[in-house]
Symmetry: C2
Subunit: 656 residues, 2 copies
């Protein structure tokens, strides 16, 4: 389908917006009037910029407060419309979005509204222009697509049709299935937006919280399916108002926007038609819907790769040894080391003049790549590229494996390792492996043979949560979980998890707007996203932590008061509490399930490991314990050289 | 009255919170349980810290999910309570806050709830502890103070009383006047919070948007009056949950918190009693309510002072000359210059080794002080100090005026100039004045003899809006106006105006969370708050701008498209539009009134001047034109060396 975006959905001045839309390969744009009014050039110049960029101007918008008014006002409104028609002629667009009049003064007489819309359509027809009429979710007498369609039918002018916006219908939980029965050629335009469910009024919801399809929680896919069932064959056009997106760079927003439409096309392709329930839209051949390979079946992480220089490698090696990791081997052609235990593999990349070193220089000691073990790496790569990711090719030595990779939004890499190449650990073929210790059947020094990565938590810079949610959802088919808020002693942290359907890959994404939180300090110090912790599932957390302690691994201390409360809350006996307290093992219960988990102290105030034991089907992340973990980390950081930044606000205005 | 604050209202770890509360001279604290659970010391150690700081532990809180449960659960809940009583004994506090059980399973039978609360009270009584029972605004069967009071009466235990929280009552617009009829000794505790009105559910409202009294929009004063009418003589205690406050430094939050209570005491003092409507609470001698001098009667700004070094002074002098300002004189003993026109006075402070130079070094070229002209400067100063402001004493030469000053939250100064000392310009006595040009009756080069400062707009760092609102409201008696959101091309700007009752002093405060906006760039570059623009009221904006243009003053250019829209919207004739367009004069209408205004280009990308002409009683700030002004400023800044910061997010993940 033709893809368009409203300029209001991108930050900056009009030329930046248009360049960003073109760079993301949009076919067209809606010109939002305020963007034009702020543009120092003429409408003709805006038209030329679009033409040069290969962008069609799909629509000019919005025109408000027109219909349902007294006769004298109608004349003034028609004059006003003529001025806008002038602008449209200069812009070279023939479609105007008119929003149903939401003024309290506007008449609720639909015949009057229809009559006046007919007049407007006639004026537009003289100029060969068309009107797309839209209902706003916070409208009074007119606020649904049915009412607008009713008015359009009463007005009965060929150049007057309806504009549909997924948000205006979904946000008020209005029925959208009936849209399939509108004749498709009477739908002049389809605007799309998603949003999280937020407890507020539709206007506030719309103005501040819209997001791109796939980033929110609404059924945009179903809505588009109904519109396609009508026979609509115009563009799909994004219209987002969001505090976050208004502040995000236009270029990256446009890339997210395009990814959301590509993902949406695929979702709709697999959706059964409302008119022909036995067939999907793909089978009906409706429009040209993207058909990428399906999301990869993921089996976990083959390895996590850390970018390090020599001194950092020494310290990190020591840190990992204390955690029970063993050296396994060295890369055949690169200065790269492999460590592991149980099913977990860690790669230390010491190559100079490499991607990893560049990442290290920019981000400090951190994970620069992960490799996902999957059934069909070639298909996973093809899907990622179809959904707008950039393929990255590394240097491959003779007889070495080619492991395809794409770039994540922060510049780190996501490898796809094909399990047909020797299982999840098949990549070890590129390494000269050390001899196993005598009698050792597997790497089971501490965490046990069953140890595997349960989830990875990442820290994102402010404003990038939705971007990453869409990246993982679209490329990998991970399902976003509800938004949550965690309490750090120095501010709130917004968090959202994504999970593979088989739960073998789970990410927890965290973002903090303020510099004092544990998360914010990581961003401030290292200028970007990164892996914050790696949670390893073990069979017996208590036994494991005991072993780690015996090896000298410092674990994160949890205050005794926490355990007193745990005892009061769950009636756990003193001896158990005392053991947990000594080890820093925390507990959370949810229904029948429970989680026991403990944390290592951090490496370079940057990342750490969690050990978790899920019991009785527990599927969460121990969020109830997050405030205590974050406080303990803040406490640890304050005593190890990373206190919260001093805000100059504190230096003035003492009362004393 | 005794003043207390809940530890949850302050950021950081428990010791930081307690130190901040003590530094702000609170008498006591409520210990929020999670703060204790995160504290690495014992409850006894927390008790000693409080004792050392002179803080009384007024209450331990909260205890939840207790009453209205099945018998077996009741036994478990009583056990849980005993564990918390242990903690209270160690803390040395005798009051526990119990929140009415909001669980969906909890019984709606108030007799059952009362019976179980009586059991809890009996257990507490054995330990000489008391229970304060509170309703939560999002409760189910129990969610109002009347229901809680009903249960307390049915339970009928002397150590069981009610806890009242202004938020829980005001947020659901419940009647609070009836509180006066509760016997005061049955009210065990009064918690206070304000909040802006936000369209959301009470729980979200409470968790994220609470603010200190005077910062929000609720009638906390009336609520406290009703509680005092009951005969309550316990502490007033603040309990705030706010995303902003969680991230703000505890020290400055505690100072704001104390200021809010001092201000509130004064408000209540002047409030008529509900029980004795002919008298105010002050006349009734209730508690010991603060009685500072009333807010000063303000006559405008005597002068605005800029901190400059030599080279900056040369450029700023030139900038001001182009704006029509004339040199008036030099300070008798300091390297300080005075410029003026009409009623406006600008001071350039070049003193080395001074407050101003220190401010300049920290903030760059910016206004470091303002002087407010008022009726009684000594009283204004006494009020400011009573409300927690710090008096600042400058160097005064022989026979020079002493102008009292206090420090604003960003370290800049607010002087109070007493108009009895020769009117608003009486401070000029400290200056050696230049001879007036021959025949000149007044300084009227350009802006006219009537030119005066209409309002001053300031830029605040993120998270400080409420702090400043309270500063101006409490010290100066300015009335806060509703919160507004402005659209900069690179993100949203939150804005709130405050106005003196006579409107001779008005401030517009602006804050942006993101670095790319015009406001955010100012903060990022200069590390703090500052005057963003000075709006000067003139009689005829069009004539004034013409004169400025003739002098060579570059005004901010507004795109022609804006004027086309203005014509379409208001039906203004072409010749007028053309004149305005050439001059950059903008128009906004509101009801009968209208504003014509224009902007200078900025000085050092830092501050600028606005010229405004208010017509027919217009009282706003032209907010509808703000997006165009902000876009024009962003456009100007991009071409003059201050583009938005490049976000690294843009450098990766290109689709192409």
């Amino acid at each position: 389908m033709r893809k368009s975006i409203a300029t209001v959905s991108l930050s900056g001045m009009l030329p930046e917006k248009l360049e960003a839309a073109a760079a993301a390969r949009f076919d067209g744009v809606e010109i939002f009037e305020n963007d034009l009014l702020q543009f120092p050039g003429t409408p003709g110049e805006a038209r030329r910029i679009c033409a040069d960029l290969g962008l069609r101007i799909e629509m000019f918008q919005p025109f408000r407060d027109f219909e349902g008014v007294a006769p004298d006002q109608l004349l003034r409104n028609l004059d006003r419309a003529e001025r806008k028609f002038d602008v449209m002629e200069q812009l070279g667009t023939e479609l105007l979005l008119v929003c149903a009049n939401i003024s309290a003064d506007a008449s609720s007489d639909l015949d009057l509204r229809a009559e006046q819309m007919a007049l407007l359509a006639e004026r537009a027809a003289r100029r060969k222009l068309r009107i797309a009429f839209e209902a706003l979710a916070w409208g009074g007498a007119v606020r649904t697509w049915r009412q607008v369609w009713d008015i359009v039918q009463r007005a009965n002018r060929p150049n007057l049709g309806v504009a549909l916006d997924s948000f205006h219908t979904l946000a008020i939980r209005d029925d959208w299935q009936g849209i399939k029965d509108i004749p498709g050629q009477r739908i002049f335009f389809m605007q799309l937006a998603d949003a999280p469910w937020v407890n507020t009024d539709p206007l506030t919801h719309s103005r501040h919280y819209r997001s791109f399809p796939g980033q929110g929680e609404m059924d945009v896919t179903g809505f588009v399916g109904a519109v396609l069932d009508s026979g609509y064959n115009g563009p799909m056009s994004l219209e987002i108002f969001s505090d976050e997106v208004r502040a995000a760079p236009a270029r990256s927003t446009a890339l997210d926007a395009m990814r959301s439409l590509l993902w949406l096309e695929e979702q709709v392709r697999h959706l059964p038609s409302l008119k022909h329930p036995e067939r999907t839209h793909g089978q009906l051949g409706r429009a040209v819907l993207l058909d990428p390979p399906p999301p990869p079946v993921l089996h976990g992480w083959a390895f996590v790769e850390f970018a390090v220089d020599g001194p950092t490698a020494s310290r990190l090696r020591e840190f990992l040894f204390l955690l029970g990791f063993c050296p396994i081997g060295r890369h055949r052609s690169k200065n790269v080391e492999l460590l592991g235990q149980g099913d977990v593999r860690i790669v230390l990349n010491l190559e100079e003049d490499s991607f990893a070193r560049g990442y290290f220089d920019q981000h400090g000691s951190s994970a620069c790549a992960v490799a996902l073990a999957c059934d069909d790496a070639a298909a996973a790569l093809a899907r990622a590229e179809a959904l707008g990711a950039t393929r990255v090719e590394g240097q491959v030595g003779p007889n070495e494996l080619t492991i395809p990779a794409v770039r994540a939004p922060d510049g780190s890499l996501v490898y796809f390792f094909d399990t047909h190449q020797g299982g999840s650990h098949g990549f070890e073929a590129d390494f000269v492996l050390d001899a196993m210790p005598e009698g050792a059947a597997a790497l089971d020094t501490c965490l046990g043979t069953g140890a595997r990565i349960d989830h990875i938590a990442a820290v994102l810079p402010p404003g990038q949560l939705d971007s990453w949610v869409l990246f993982y959802r679209a490329l990998l088919g991970l399902e976003p979980q509800p938004n949550t808020v965690l309490h750090d002693p120095y501010g709130i942290i917004r968090s959202r998890a994504l999970e593979a359907p088989n739960r073998k890959v789970r990410y927890a994404l965290n973002v903090s707007d303020r510099p004092g939180t544990v998360v914010g300090r990581t961003v401030g110090q290292f200028g970007g996203a990164g892996i914050h912790h790696i949670a390893i599932a073990v069979d017996d957390v208590v036994a494991t932590v005991r072993q780690l302690r015996a090896r000298g691994m410092p674990m994160l201390a949890i205050p005794a008061n926490y355990y007193d409360d745990l005892g009061a809350k769950y009636g756990i006996e003193q001896a158990t509490l005392a053991a947990w307290s000594e080890l820093g093992v925390m507990l959370e219960r949810s229904g029948e399930g429970e989680i026991l988990h403990a944390y290592s102290t951090p490496f370079d105030n940057r990342f750490f490991f969690e050990l978790i034991e899920r019991r009785h089907g527990y599927q969460g992340y121990g969020a109830g314990n997050a405030p205590f973990r974050l406080a303990a980390l803040a406490h640890w950081a304050s005593r190890h050289g990373n206190p919260p930044p001093v805000n100059q606000h504190t230096t003035h205005d003492p009362l004393s």
